[in-house]
Symmetry: C2
Subunit: 191 residues, 2 copies
């Protein structure tokens, strides 16, 4: 990432993909992670599943087919941004293993993080009342309740958000990215 005379060259792109149930902490972690990565000189693009839906997937619902198409679109945009050197943080439930695998294959520089939290903990917290509505049937096709969630088999990292703070989760991500050689400390880029 750094030329011999210490001048910073553009970073290689990377997609950090946060998958997990609604309420598990993806968005909160993404926000904090963004701050840490920007401090390390990365150009960050957050692609939040709910936000991107407004831009790219109006009219799509929550059937498997529509969810897959939404995740594919996020994957495609992440791919193009990663190609141009951005560090993409995608936070999207992305419940199906095969579509996450598609995104991984397409993007290449892909770091999958399972944001894991037991359903009973999520149901107890439920700050937006979504799980209550899902169990009552008011919200159909709710991942983890009335729709499947396929856990990652080999994620780069699993965060147990019932047992660790957001700070601890983000520290673990940063450490793993550094170990994988995917981050350059800012100090190293100054001559």
């Amino acid at each position: 990432m750094t030329s011999s005379n210490g001048h910073r060259t553009p970073h290689a792109g990377l997609t950090i993909w946060l998958t997990g149930l609604s309420g598990a902490g993806k968005t909160t972690i993404a926000d904090r992670l963004e701050t840490e990565l920007v401090a390390r000189g990365r150009r960050v693009e957050k692609l939040d599943g709910d936000v991107v839906r407004q831009h790219l997937s109006k009219g799509l619902g929550f059937s498997k087919e529509d969810r897959d198409e939404n995740v594919r679109r996020i994957g495609w945009v992440a791919h193009r941004l990663t190609h141009h050197g951005a560090t993409v943080i995608a936070s999207v439930i992305s419940p199906y293993r095969d579509i996450r695998a598609e995104a991984r294959e397409l993007i290449g520089d892909f770091f999958e993080i399972y944001v894991k939290c037991a359903l009973d903990v999520l149901v107890r917290r439920d700050p937006k009342g979504l799980y209550a509505k899902a169990f009552s049937g008011e919200i159909p096709n709710f991942t983890g309740v009335s729709d499947p969630y396929e856990e990652p088999l080999f994620p780069e990292l699993t965060l147990e958000t019932a047992n660790e703070t957001v700070e601890q989760s983000v520290d673990r991500i940063i450490t793993r990215l550094e170990e994988a050689g995917l981050l350059v400390e800012p100090a190293a880029t100054v001559a």
Copy 2:
């Protein structure tokens, strides 16, 4: 774009937006322009309207509402790529003035090129037989035939593709980009 010691710093992003009727030459010009810009050290992303439809707009048709939504999605992706320093070449019919204006406002660094060709010339050429099908009614909602095309009022450049070669068109684009200070000659970035 160039630091005082001649080391190249990342380019600022830019979206070059080619609008015009089907067959007017947008894709051909985009391809040739890409080659020229890559030779000048730009990271180029081509967003072809027909190609992007496959990635972002499956299920959308050609009503005004669906066309607008498709163009909005391309505009949003161009915006994010431009933000990350890419030179985006969007080639998309984008027949409606207000949606092009939306893209311009969103993206900011926006260079609109009207790829202009008279309808009778397009009908005479018609290599894919699309205009014949449009006039027979086999293809409905065809821009310029059964659907409106609103010419740009103040494009950064108008190319008259019935009267100039592709090389001439691309030369004119490069010249205008240089005049606008939007290109840095490769020689200038070497110490």
